[in-house]
Symmetry: C2
Subunit: 464 residues, 2 copies
């Protein structure tokens, strides 16, 4: 019955996005929690995917969350923990009975356990690791020995490797006789005698071939080996760029140590996106809707503080021209327009640059051409909007020279916004600083300072 | 030899990002183009992946591009076209000899041809479709009958489906005897007699099982069927949320018509992200570094124009208080700080909201709680930075009441920025407008207008 309702709702209620949690299910679950009715709760939760249960837990209040977790109890699946936002994961772990937690964790793949424990404090980490069987614990500890955000942390250690001389029949027999195959695998990896990966054979090709076919005849054209120390963002880029499905991971000596599958790379790509978009807006990249008010305020305060400093800097520029403004108050009325247009153009160029750096579209190869292009774009839009604004200001205040001043100031500000917007991200990238993280305040400072300085400076020079 | 250089460079030149095109290779290729040396060109290009060749073509100048394409000639691979940015795809197609183009297109999978032709003008589309074999042309035309950006356009039509009663042996025999298996497939899809998909069996499980095992015993827990008319953004969300590798696509009657694989979903996720990040910055989402100056300027002009209007609106507010500013020029010096801090806080909240809507974390379920939370965050940071700025203004201008006015104005602006930043995206989403597209100008207008009005209004009321 629950499944029927699940499937009906996307049609019957067009206001909800596809795959978002259905309100009636949520209401029924919260009702069961309220009533303390474990059977009802389990019945409603049963058809939900762990990722959806995690979303549900993130969306309800902290007190409902605790009661739900405690009532759900033995049914609690380890995958829910993996899917949970870090900000409330600790809270949920604390609400779970230690035995349930141990069971939940034991069911997880070792790469999911790594993901779970890597950000924990040592004592909490010890609790989770203590719940694991010895072999799993060693696997997790080995993974943790790789740098954070590296391919070594992302990979699963279970691989299906085959010597180069094997046939399709050898591979099939090997797999049929294996007691424990990886949960997910899409390739048999051919390795040389030193365990260096030399090629991938997709399972589809093996399926379709006769037993006597040598595996090496079925090897894929595209084959990309990933160093275990490579940054996970680069791994995600490689999967997306080369349409990889799985790729072998090798140690410093080039020996096979694991495999990364595309679903993990897709998660990383999504996280990188989240990081970019949050950083560009000056929000702490790990913030989430389930943060407390204090955490959320703190996660935004740093950027607001930097913005305050740059805004004060811009105000100091205005202060230099206080006398000029005193003589013509129209300048105070118009000056925010120049700064605002500059800030906007700077943000546009900066975003294009940050994205192009992330996708490797902006390189040393085309850097000069892109800089010239951006400045030309700035000059062109500066001319168009400078002229437009000159007309507006001319009609508004009836002072032809004021119109000329704002038009010229707008042109200068647009060009410097473009220059700042492209050069600053490139410079930060060269300095190995994430351009998304730090470009904003620099670009805005430039556009504000140039905007006010150009407008008020030209005004005091030409008008007074 | 070329491969050696490729592999050495990432180590020897730490300034380049992993997987970015190696400068020496690019220089050698451009040298070969310059010299008109086809053999050299082919030798340097041979080890490159089509995606990298596409990036190369995007990064060089238009004249180099034309000469390279014409010199490379017969070696030109259809996949390069698929990987190319739309803005220069037409240019490259125009530079290709019609016969070469026809050959290149014939080698592509039908879903790649769909991707290639869907944005073309009718005459150019006819040229490409004319080059295809009949069966392929029909497949492409059928795909084009689905709405743009739908699962039907994204899917590949070739599937491996099996009746529910089949065993592992039946499936293997069927695949061995098939003349044309799909390029990529990861599941055998179990279907009922009406061709409705009922379950997925991964190839790995089939490999590891004995021939007599019924396929239905190996069915995956997670199984998600995608309607052909579903939006591709929702498809990408489902793949990421449920860790799908491939999913069957069904028509209105629930019959299997194709399959979508995770690599396509990953590309869509990446494109959706690009769209969000560009739209949030007010850049036309299809703009790229290879646009001409005029195209790029045009792609940013709309947003700049909207920003001009809102900036003029804010200036009208200032103009209302021209007399007040005339009496105390310090107001003109300080007012941009209030507006700038408001704009920043509004952008932060708006970005969090846009992202949370995209990830289905912000729903009707928790909307009220999130709005209250954001306003509390705004109030908290408003208090902190209002107090800080009051101190700065007090010391700067020595007028205690001015300090009180800016502190209070800052608090009000921060709260309304938070309110606007969360409510506007939610409202647009409810109206079926992409919140990333249109939130920016509205939020900035609110923060500017409220900022100037609160600061100057309070000043004229309290100070004068």
């Amino acid at each position: 019955m629950t499944e029927d309702i699940d499937q009906d709702l996307p049609d019957s209620d067009h206001e909800e996005a596809a795959y978002s949690l259905d309100r009636r299910t949520v209401a029924a679950i919260l009702g069961a929690v309220e009533a303390g009715d474990r059977a009802q709760l389990t019945e409603w939760m049963e058809p939900l995917h762990p990722a959806d249960i995690a979303d549900l837990l993130e969306q309800i209040s902290a007190s409902d969350r605790r009661r739900l977790v405690q009532l759900y109890d033995r049914e609690f699946d380890g995958d829910i923990l993996s899917e949970l936002d870090e900000s409330i994961r600790e809270e949920v772990i604390a609400a779970l009975h230690p035995e349930i937690l141990a069971d939940a964790v034991r069911d997880l793949d070792s790469d999911d356990v790594v993901d779970l424990v890597e950000d924990m404090d040592a004592p909490q980490q010890a609790v989770i690791l203590g719940a694991l069987e010895d072999a799993d614990r060693v696997a997790v500890q080995q993974a943790l020995s790789y740098p954070e955000y590296s391919a070594g942390r992302l990979m699963q250690r279970e691989t299906i490797a085959a010597p180069e001389h094997w046939t399709v029949g050898d591979a099939i027999d090997f797999m049929r006789n294996s007691t424990e195959l990886p949960e997910q695998f899409y390739h048999v990896i051919l390795v040389d005698p030193r365990m260096h990966p030399v090629g991938n054979v997709t399972l589809g090709k093996i399926m379709a071939a006769y037993r006597a076919t040598p595996l090496r005849d079925l090897v894929e054209d595209m084959f990309q080996v990933i160093p275990a120390t490579q940054d996970e963002a680069d791994v995600a880029y490689a999967f997306n760029q080369y349409h990889l499905i799985s790729a072998p991971v090798v140690d410093d000596e080039g020996r096979l140590v694991g495999v990364i599958t595309i679903d993990d790379a897709m998660s990383v790509l999504d996280e990188e996106h989240e990081e970019d978009i949050m950083r560009l807006a000056g929000v702490h990249e790990e913030s989430s809707l389930s943060d407390t008010i204090f955490e959320a305020a703190k996660g935004r305060a740093l950027w607001l503080f930097v913005n305050l400093l740059t805004a004060i800097l811009a105000s100091l520029v205005i202060d230099m021209f206080a006398e000029t403004i005193n003589q013509m108050v129209a300048l105070a009325v118009l000056m925010p327009i120049v700064a605002s247009m500059g800030g906007n153009a700077g943000t546009q160029t900066m975003t294009v640059a940050v994205r192009a750096l992330a996708t490797r579209d902006l390189t040393a190869q085309n850097a000069m051409r892109v800089v010239v292009r951006e400045m030309s774009v700035g000059a062109l839009n500066g001319l168009v909007f400078g002229l437009l604004m000159a007309l507006v200001a001319g009609f508004w205040f009836g002072v032809p020279m004021l119109a000329a001043v704002i038009g010229l100031a707008m042109l200068l500000t647009q060009i410097s916004a473009a220059l700042g917007g492209i050069v600053i991200p490139m410079f930060l990238d060269r300095m190995k600083i994430d351009p998304a993280l730090a470009s904003g305040p620099f670009v805005t400072t430039i556009t504000d300072v140039v905007g006010f300085f150009a407008f008020l400076g030209l005004a005091s020079w030409i008008l007074l």
